[in-house]
Amino acid sequence: MGQKKNTHAGSKVFIIVLSIFCILLIGVSIVNSDALSPLRQAGGVLVTPIEKGISSFGSWAGRLGNSFTDTDSLRSENEDLKSQVEALQAENSQLVLDKEELNRLQKLMDLKEEYSDYETTGARVISKGSGNWFSEFTIDKGSSDGIKVNCNVISGSGLVGIVTKVGPNWATVRSIIDDDSNVSAMVSTTSDTCIIAGNLELIDTGVLSLVQLTDTENKVHVGDKVVTSDISEKYLPGILIGYISELNNNPNNLSKSGQLTPVVDFRHIQEVLVILKTKDYVASPDDSSSNVVDDVTGAASAGTSSGTSSDSTGTSADTSSAAVPSGGDGSAGSSRDTASAGTAGSGTGGGGQ
């Protein structure tokens, strides 16, 4: 009908009007992403139940496929595990004794236990982001379960990521392998700080890049354990991230960079634990939440701020203030973020207040 006749002129009007609308939306979400959060909330509430259903169907289908694996291997695995359990039980009883002693001594020394008893809640991964470029995922619990923005997310053995957005029954998590993620970390043996940066180019090798390690005494070795650092603004201290797998001197000989093998298997994350305690620092909670939102949605804006320079060292205010220029692969320099702010945290701690 009339629709057909209008198509020619109509589509031009449509494309112009909608383009302006999109530009406005992009502008708003870069400048003040909180303004659009009701939209996200509504969308999330609507879609989460559906995603939950699909994901449980998916894991059911996955189990169905796995049930065809031969029982022999399961049997032998069971034997192995049994013997392992025995060994571990023996070890455990020894450790319990040690723990008691540790508690006693800690009381004597007036030290507080910091890491061991964070309250956590389990959650299931229900969807991964829409594209293939970033490593963010959605979990099926949200603010009604006590999850807040900036909650740390762990999985069994180590750090998975950080909560970036929260709805009533869902939350999005940016994993540490995300191209936009930087975590302030330290080597557990020497307490030397470094930054663990996610990098899409390394994603297939299963490692993360480790940059800006200050190790003037050459005491850090390949194989050393890396944990979240005390001075990070958003990550609780002492959560295991992984082990150093490669270490090189930077050309400036002041810092080192290398690679780190994470302990978490990021390809097969299905359930995660969310630590309900967030790291409190002096800034008001409002402050910190808006910071994070900026960090996440600012992918595009971060780009414009850091420019297109190929050598990205020191292009962002955060990192350049943190330490010597890295010169290495430059991945830390290019993105401003949580953790680079963390390293700067001790020096410029007032920044967030």
């Binding site: 998916g58 829409s130 293939n132 899409l200």
Partner: protein
């Protein structure tokens, strides 16, 4: 009306499938780009306006449901729908080869645009790595999915055409 409702349902299902269902069917952590298939298919079968509206609403839904800059995907998918809507006058839509070619071109375009705005501007300059690791595999997987889904979309469109006509006839 029926057409609008069914398009809305189709867009919704596509976006949800791309985000949730296909995390199960990922190959080498690559998902196919289903929304490109939907957008370009309707651009080819119905023209520019249909293409741009499908792209806009699909992209917007994707932006709302997932972290990122709201409006970015809406913009990109909308322009892809608009540009590929020109093929409506040039090509026939009943031969699978045409949509295959157009969809892979569109996915390539999408990948390059996405790379440029989300990665190149942050100083990630190894374009060919991303081309080989993300963009090309995504195109291949999307082509496979086109084989499977285009026929279905084609039939849905035919059916909607028929109901459109019927409702016009009944009005007259």
């Amino acid at each position: 009306m029926i057409r609008k409702l069914s398009m809305a349902a189709l867009i919704f299902v596509t976006v949800i499938a791309q985000c949730s269902l296909f995390q199960v069917f990922e190959i080498a952590s690559i998902k196919p780009n289903l929304l490109i298939i939907l957008t370009v298919s309707f651009a080819l079968m119905r023209g520019r306006k249909s293409g741009l509206l499908t792209g806009f609403f699909g992209g917007l839904l994707m932006d709302i449901l997932f972290p990122g800059t709201i409006g970015f995907n809406a913009m990109v998918y909308m322009w892809i729908g608009y540009i590929f809507g020109y093929s409506y006058r040039i090509f026939y839509d009943d031969d699978i080869k045409t949509p295959l070619l157009l969809i892979s071109l569109a996915d390539l375009l999408y990948g390059i645009v996405y790379y440029f705005f989300m990665f190149a501007l942050r100083g990630r300059i190894h374009f060919f790595y991303y081309l080989g690791r993300i963009i090309i595999p995504e195109i291949l997987y999307t082509i496979i999915m086109t084989f499977i889904t285009y026929h279905l979309l084609f039939k849905i469109n035919r059916k909607l055409d028929k109901t459109d006509k019927r409702s016009i006839d009944s009005l007259v």
